[in-house]
């Protein structure tokens, strides 16, 4: 049942949902979303919020201390294979990604950012403290606020990504602790790390933003969404059989809904007609990512969902060869070309698979300072013809201070491949700036391609309270298109290395050569030429000494 909190601090509510989607390649995609809505204002000065119920206190304090308007953090292990799996509900790049919109009352955004990354590093047990000014950028167009707010001064936006960050149980545990039911009841009992990390793709994220509570936006609330996307591989987890069950995926079954949740649902995508048991009469249709899909709904707040055994174990079986997957309309790849450790080229390839519509995409590239980009070598070609971007925002890197930021608006012709190339030179760093494993290489964060893709199916712009969470993550502004963000692969680039065992030797040898120069010039400047009179042998010199004492003429 629900517990209403009748206090002046506002009502909070919690919803949880799991979407299971069988993928064309035989893998299975499970997407958890846990949403807490809270009717309060973290940023008001008069009363500090101190009574937390469903909203985690650690995050609430972070929001009020750093005047954060929107926070998105994700930890991903693996790379989302768009061509095999379609588009994810919540895209994320490999490694850790953090982007934050600060409130426009903040005076020192960089200081707040630095402290915020350190605090989040503690909350999530991740090494986010490696985020500093050398890998933070301020995108001017790519990361518009996903929640309310129309201030678009990008001085208050910070974006950073750590491609090298590894996700493990240590990060999952504090993430689970933020949930109202912890990992004790509801959908979060399925989150067992030994199964979750034995997967092709694992991504956990936290998204906090202010939202409207109703269509007319008369009242605002803070929304916290914790999302976890996981793709289980057909062969490593599924033993090669296109037959999945909750127990096979998570080694647990569902027994009850979270008592604190107002809604707790499991959606299973049955558009391609798999065999599903137990059968359920509840069906729902949703248009998400430009595709109309049919879902079987299991409502965990109703006791009859769990049947006689008081446990729900869904079984999914593919029947024969399921139909063709809807080809993703937008797809991007990136790679490094060239040989040797002096120069190279970054190639970003963007595919527009729409048969007849062209649409613009915004490409954002953040390249570390030690790969010096030459923007005059930037070429954008579509169908082997030059395609000039209509908007270029380039901020060159400053050595050891900030990275390169390149944002471009490119119009993609229909059914085409667009290639963006830019040359770079690799810098030699100081010996202390290399990581302990310098020959592993240096990571370059993923490029971000953001676009409003034309939809084949009319999108739903109506705002309803009981909309499934997976279709309401990105606000839909118009019927004919939907927002897609595609992340490319991160790059691994080798830099020339000095010999790390040589500092003392190098200092000695170089100073020797300088000293040779100094010595030669000193000799020539301070000495004069003289005729060389050979000196007498020792015996004769002693004899001369005695003769001088005696007062007798000296020897020659």
């Amino acid at each position: 049942g629900l517990v209403f909190l009748s206090s002046e601090f506002g009502v909070d509510q919690f919803q949880e949902e799991l979407v299971i989607r069988p993928l064309h390649s035989g893998d299975i995609y499970a997407s958890f979303q846990f949403r807490t809505l809270w009717d309060t204002d973290f940023l008001q000065e008069r009363q500090k919020v101190s009574h937390y119920r469903l909203f985690p206190k650690s995050l609430g304090q972070v929001l009020s201390k750093f005047s954060v308007r929107e926070l998105h953090i994700s930890f991903t292990q693996g790379f989302w294979r768009t061509m095999q799996w379609g588009q994810p509900f919540i895209p994320s790049p490999p490694g850790a990604e953090l982007w934050v919109w600060f409130h426009d009352t903040v005076s020192d955004v960089d200081g707040n950012w630095k402290e915020l990354t350190n605090v989040l590093s503690g909350i999530f047990c991740a090494s986010l403290n490696f985020i500093d000014l050398t890998n933070t950028v301020q995108p001017s167009a790519s990361f518009k606020p996903l929640g309310l707010g129309n201030a678009t001064d990008h001085r208050f936006l910070r974006y950073a990504t750590l491609p090298r960050e590894i996700v493990c149980t240590e990060n999952l545990t504090p993430w689970k602790k933020l949930l109202p039911c912890g990992s004790k009841a509801g959908l979060s009992v399925l989150l067992k790390s030994e199964k979750l990390f034995h997967s092709s793709f694992h991504s956990q994220a936290v998204h906090i933003r202010p939202v409207c509570q109703d269509e007319q936006c008369t009242s605002k609330a803070w929304e916290l969404r914790q999302t976890l996307n996981v793709v289980f591989d057909l062969y490593t987890s599924g033993q090669g059989k296109k037959e999945w069950s909750l127990f096979k995926m998570f080694s647990r079954t569902l027994t009850e809904a979270c008592p604190l949740a107002t809604s707790s649902k499991v959606y299973v995508d049955i558009t391609d007609n798999p065999e599903l048991s137990p059968a359920t009469p509840l069906l729902s249709q949703a248009v998400v990512l430009g595709d109309r899909r049919t879902y079987s709904v299991f409502d965990l707040t109703r006791a009859e969902t769990f049947g006689q055994l008081r446990s729900l174990n869904l079984l999914l079986r593919w029947k024969g060869d399921s139909g063709g997957m809807l080809r993703p309309l937008l797809h991007a790849e990136r790679y490094v070309a060239g040989f040797g450790l002096q120069t190279g080229e970054i190639h970003t390839v963007i595919y527009n698979n729409h048969p007849y519509r062209a649409f613009p995409v915004l490409l954002m590239d953040s390249v570390p300072w030690y790969l010096q980009l030459y923007i005059h070598t930037l070429t954008v070609t579509s169908k082997s013809r030059d395609n000039k971007p209509s908007y270029i925002h380039y901020q060159p890197a400053k050595d050891r201070h900030r990275p390169h930021l390149l944002e471009m608006l490119i119009q993609l012709p229909p059914h085409s491949m667009t290639e963006v190339t830019v040359q770079f030179e690799r810098a030699l760093l100081k010996w202390t700036e290399y990581t302990p494993d310098p020959n592993h290489g240096f990571y370059v964060g993923s490029s971000v391609v953001s676009a409003l893709v034309p939809s084949m199916v009319a999108m739903n712009t109506n705002f309803t309270q009981d909309q499934p969470l997976f279709s309401s993550f990105v606000p839909v502004k118009e019927e004919s298109s939907y927002f897609v963000r595609v992340y490319t692969e991160p790059l691994l680039v080798n830099l020339p290395t000095p010999d790390f065992s040589m500092p003392y030797n190098v200092i000695c040898l170089t100073c020797t050569v300088v000293a040779v120069g100094y010595g030669s010039f000193y000799n020539l400047l301070t000495r004069t030429f003289q005729v060389d009179e050979p000196s007498l042998p020792l015996a004769k010199r002693l004899a001369n000494l005695i003769r001088r004492i005696r007062g007798v003429p000296l020897l020659a």
Partner: protein
Amino acid sequence: MAAPLTLLLIVAVTIRAVLFRSSLAELISERVEVVSPLNAWKRVVEGLALLDLGVSPYSGDVFHETPLMIYLFHFTVDYAEIVFMVSPYFVDCLSCFLAPLDRFRKQKYALESDRYPADCLELLRSPKEMFYIPLKVAMFYLLNPFTILSCVAKSTCGLNNAIIALFIFCTLKGSALLSGILLALATYQSIYPLTLFAPALLFFLQRLYIPVNLRRSSFWFFTLQYAFIYVGSLVVITGLSFFLLGSWDFIPSVYGFIFSVPDLTPNIGLFWYFFAEMFEHFRLFFICVFQINVFFYTIPLSIKLKEHPVFLIFMQIAIISIFKSYPTVGDVALYMAFLPAWSHLYRFLRNIFLVSCVLLACSALFPVLWHLWIYAGSANSNFYYAITLLFNFGQILLVSDYFYAYLRREHHLIHGLYLKKKDGTEATLVLK
């Protein structure tokens, strides 16, 4: 004299034109021995592209040229090849004036020739020898592979060399105003030509027969005049740069970059590996030491060579080329062009064979070891660093050898060529 010079010019232009049009031009313009972060053509194009995008070229760390250079290339970027081909010929101008210079010196010696011992006459140069010096200097500069590489790579080092050559030309011709202005321009381009102020001043004082005596007011009068011209033009040029781009950003980007050496791209100098392997604690100390090293030879050399300002100019240019923070082969070629002017010192050079072998071998080994480190991966940075050390050592040996030979010739001019010891046997001369 005109005919061989013209033939030489035609040959030089042909070689450069052929190389410009071949595929080698791309390869050469990427070589780290020929271009440095300060004068690479790729970076000039990048700076112009940034200007077109509306971003200040100095907001990143790629472009380190002065604003006047931006504006020069803004208008001539399509004709860049012609600009770079023309600039070495300025260096020739100075060669044409080395002959009258020597005539001047000969006159000076003629006045004092009665003071010279009779056997020294063979040390003095005959007009016939001196007639061919301009041609030899032109040949040494135009046909020097270093110069050709630097020109084909379109490195702005060629333009800097042209300005320094014009400065020497104006100094030798006696025009203090032009000399001051050109020296200010050379200093504005890269700070190190500041040390050429002393030799230029000494030359003018000698030419105007003002004795270098700190107590004489005529000395101070001329010094202040020359200093005023120099500092004044420097201020004007810097102010002009400020108004061209509207900000002082170019000062940390150009001069801050030259002094603090943040970019550790390998080159033929001593700085890059030294500061790549430097303990962070000592970095500032060693930057100061290495930069002072370029400047502090000025005063002692000026005191020793105050009667010989032209040789002093050569010594200063050589010291700058060896010890500057981002040297390239173009800088080396500049002082090597002077060597034929002192061909009469050949008999006193002690190590010339060793030095030439070292320099030739190092020039051949630079590309080999670079390839092994960067492309083949079978060597590491130490190999390239070793050749850098050897190349600089060879250069230091060359310069100090010429200095020794010059001082020795001066000694012989005063004391006679064939010296004898007290007992009448042949003497050996040592430095004591």
